[in-house]
Symmetry: C2
Subunit: 202 residues, 2 copies
Amino acid sequence: MTAEAKPAPSQLTERQEARRRRILHASAQLASRGGFDAVQMREVAENSGVALGTLYRYFPSKVHLLVATMQDQLQQMHETLRKRPPTEAEPATRVAQTLMRAFRALQREPQLADAMVRALTFADRSVSPEVDTVSRLTTAIILDAMGLSDPPTGEQLSAVRVIEHTWHSALITWLSGRASIAQVKIDIETVCRLIDLTAPRD
Amino acid sequence: MTAEAKPAPSQLTERQEARRRRILHASAQLASRGGFDAVQMREVAENSGVALGTLYRYFPSKVHLLVATMQDQLQQMHETLRKRPPTEAEPATRVAQTLMRAFRALQREPQLADAMVRALTFADRSVSPEVDTVSRLTTAIILDAMGLSDPPTGEQLSAVRVIEHTWHSALITWLSGRASIAQVKIDIETVCRLIDLTAPRD
DNA sequence: CGTTAGCCTGGAACGAGTTTCAGTGACTCG
DNA sequence: CGAGTCACTGAAACTCGTTCCAGGCTAACG
């Protein structure tokens, strides 16, 4: 056994880390162009200068790849949001504002958003850990936006989960052209009211 | 032009209607066994005694087929629920009760649920009309459960949309093993609180 | 410096969704 | 009855995700 175990995705050669980044970059680029369908494994492999087999060693399926891409993008968004926190006073409004900001970012790359969100909801059990990571990231973003002074109560966590549900599903309806941007805004604002409802009383 | 136009899905020969039903039945049966992946177009065609090309004439893609299957199942559920309306007094509780009842029905056929829900969220723009039908059915079920005496206000419709979002997304997290049944219950009860919040004041 | 293990490459091969088409059958109109 | 039309059949073909394999490269170890 070598000194370094490899279960964690962190323990990678520099070359390997570079490969991984190239793959994610190619994935995002193709997705930006044509959405989910345009991310073709052969093409991702070619564009990132890697053999098909290698691509599959890094990401065991197209869905894994796209979920990882989403993880990557979310991470960046989290950074950005951290730098410019929401300006509103009320937690509910802050969360709504933050989510709408994120939503506008997605609007700029609708095809990429399509690919990532479709992958996320299409993911089966084999991708659960990765999807869970995305979910935790989203939760973190929302909790940040709430700006709580105390750790969240169970009730508040429930509210946050429901907000996440709404966020994902609203995104889908928008991406599939069944809801307008205004509609999404209303839905988000509506669900954010749950935050007031679950605020500790005293 | 023949007397019967064919744009509506209603205008079908008896033989055609029968074929359609056979196809939907085969689809649901295969889905019940092995979920989304087990619904293989060739097999659906064979099991319903129809050529592959014909299957594709009736349902232009696997997703279309499964969304139609869901439509079918939802319709049945709507009937059932109509016969035994929720017993609770409060609208919010009635809705939660109804959704949990539907949820338990899905638990009995988890694989079928998996196939239908995955198809629903994976559907792209080309399936929008069909997905929309499913959405309207769901809305109808929820509104029924609310048992309003007056037509719903805009605010209430927003709340219903958010409930639907939560319902779909919670279902997905449960199907992919990332949330327990108890978790789903809590989420549904949480989001149903929005109903109280949006009830007309006087 | 040679050896060995592990990763990577190129490419073939397989499976399932989707498309296509020539031929067949049934029904309608003349 | 004959011709035309349209849906259905059977089967081949195409695409793209995924799997597999044989050989080459790298890097640490002896």
